[in-house]
């Protein structure tokens, strides 16, 4: 299975980190992976997005222009990328932030109150981990063990204390899809 992911939201929501977790998870499953962020002035407090490819074969362009899955954590991201999702693709929205509904009828949509779920469970700022838990549950782009290991490998040394909370948030995401 090949999965092209596009993750988008505000800077500070952990978009790039979440993408890295996804790439790590794919790598640990023995797949080819790539991760590419948007970069430049737009990163300074504005929107952030990153492309992640998880594939059985060598990856061509790491720039995802037609995602299989769009993870959108703010309104501008949905507006900008909704139309790029492949037909029969998947859009996962953080519906505690994005109030609009997806207009397209040819894609599957998951509305997940990730930010609210995170804060309800004392996991402020970890909504993106809730999202990736759900992403895993919906697509099975990686194994569960690799997802958790991917989180472990991605959390920087200075933030090791937050490891368990990241995993907890991902588990909430997984559970939300059961």
């Amino acid at each position: 299975m090949n999965t092209n992911l596009l993750l988008a939201g505000f800077g500070g929501q952990g978009i790039l980190f979440t993408g890295k977790v996804a790439a790590y998870a794919g790598m640990l499953d023995g797949k080819e992976v790539s991760w590419l962020p948007s970069y430049g002035p737009e990163m300074r407090g504005g929107t952030a997005n990153c492309s992640v490819c998880v594939s059985e074969s060598p990856i061509g362009s790491p720039l995802v222009t037609a995602p299989d899955v769009l993870v959108a954590m703010n309104h501008p991201s949905l507006e900008k990328f909704e139309k790029t999702v492949v037909p029969n693709g998947l859009i996962i929205l953080d519906s505690s932030i994005v109030k609009d509904e997806v207009k397209r009828k040819d894609v599957r949509v998951v509305y997940l109150q990730a930010t609210r779920l995170a804060s309800d469970n004392g996991l402020m700022g970890l909504a993106s981990m809730v999202m990736i838990g759900r992403l895993y549950k919906e697509t099975g782009f990686c194994s569960e063990a690799s997802l958790f290991e991917g989180i472990k490998r991605s959390v920087p040394v200075r933030k090791q204390s937050l490891m368990d909370k990241n995993i907890e948030a991902a588990k909430i995401g997984i559970k939300s899809g059961e």
Partner: protein
């Protein structure tokens, strides 16, 4: 077996230099290569190396010149506008027969241009990075792993041939993460450097590093001798990858990041029954004309795909020498071509357009 890690191209380039024994890095920030400097500033103090943030790209490359003259493996990195600033000393390095490794994470030009990926510095890297008759070794990675491997090899070959080597990459490779392995067994030790200016210790005559030869006949002889070395390199150091070329009617020539897109386009063309293939130069100087010459009679046409207005296409045309049609497709300004665009070009050629 060393562990596989996920790393940005920029960080991987820096870590590869450390693997190759580089302990002297002189840098200056510029998007999209800054992670190289940042990684070095983090790592060097921990391993007894030097990270020095210079006052400018000019300062940085001249510190490299000094450290190289002193006999150590040394590196600097920048992105396009910064490479223009380093041009002067690239010429001095070559003219003084000094090794050094330079990384160019290309962005769009001319001028301040943009910060998105580009391959518009090909001419600069392979033709005229600075004044005078000289060449640099130029390698163009297409994956983050290849970035690592080529940085390691660039140090070795730069030392071996006593000339500067450039990693010609771009913002896409620099910014993207892929799994990489750092394999120490691939590192080749630096040769002895009896020419280094590190103090003669009262044991030998004084060494002089200079690019000045005031007598025209002296300079003529020095440059000609250097060009003999270049000829040897052209014969022995061409690097390339062939993909689906065995039975190909149409061969796409592409390097670095754009070769990734071309690979997808070739796959798509094959699915449609079009016999497309790719030659991917890994060394762009020396330019790998051998695989092109070997295929010249078997193909209908060549197509060159670059993130520029067409620069490497000159080298393809020089190799083909009018015997076959050489088409070009590219985007510039930071726009990355898509596989479907390239496929469309392949189809056009296939239709005989």
């Amino acid at each position: 077996m060393p562990e596989k890690v996920l790393m940005k191209g920029n960080e991987a380039a820096a870590e590869a230099a450390i693997l190759a024994g580089c302990r002297h890095f002189f840098g200056y920030p510029i998007t999209p290569q800054t992670e190289i400097a940042a990684h070095m500033s983090n790592r060097m103090p921990k391993i007894g190396g030097i990270y020095l943030q210079a006052e400018s790209e000019i300062g940085a490359i001249n510190m490299v010149l000094g450290a190289s003259a002193a006999g150590v493996r040394t590196m600097t990195s920048s992105s396009s506008p910064g490479i223009s600033l380093k041009a002067e000393s690239l010429s001095y390095l070559a003219g003084s027969d000094l090794p050094a490794v330079l990384v160019n994470i290309q962005r769009a030009g001319p001028g301040l241009g943009g910060i998105q990926p580009s391959q518009a510095d090909y001419w600069q890297a392979t033709r005229s990075s600075g004044h005078g008759d000289y060449k640099m070794l130029v390698f163009a990675p297409s994956t983050v792993q290849e970035m690592v491997d080529l940085v390691v090899d660039a140090f070795y070959l730069s030392d071996k041939y006593r000339m500067p080597a450039m990693i010609l990459s771009d913002g896409l490779l620099g910014q993207m993460m892929e799994p990489v392995v750092f394999d120490e067994s691939k590192v080749k030790k630096a040769p002895e450097k009896p020419w280094a200016t590190c103090g003669h210790g009262d044991k030998r005559e004084h060494n002089i590093i200079t690019s000045l030869f005031i007598d025209p006949y002296d300079l003529d002889a020095v440059v000609k001798a250097r060009y003999e070395r270049y000829e040897h390199i052209k014969e022995n150091e061409q690097r390339y990858e062939e993909y689906c070329t065995k039975d190909a009617d149409i061969i796409v020539v592409s390097y670095g990041a754009s070769a990734r897109i071309v690979r997808s386009a070739v796959d798509a063309a094959r699915k449609e029954g079009i016999k497309a293939g790719m030659i991917r130069p890994i060394s762009v100087w020396p330019f790998p004309d051998k695989p092109i010459l070997s295929k010249i009679n078997d193909v209908k046409a060549f197509l060159c795909v670059e993130m520029s207005m067409g620069q490497m296409v000159d080298d393809v045309r020089l190799a083909v020498n009018g015997k076959k049609d050489v088409k070009f497709f590219g985007h510039t300004g930071g726009v990355v071509p898509t596989p479907s665009e390239v496929l469309e070009e392949i189809k056009k050629i296939n239709r005989g357009a």
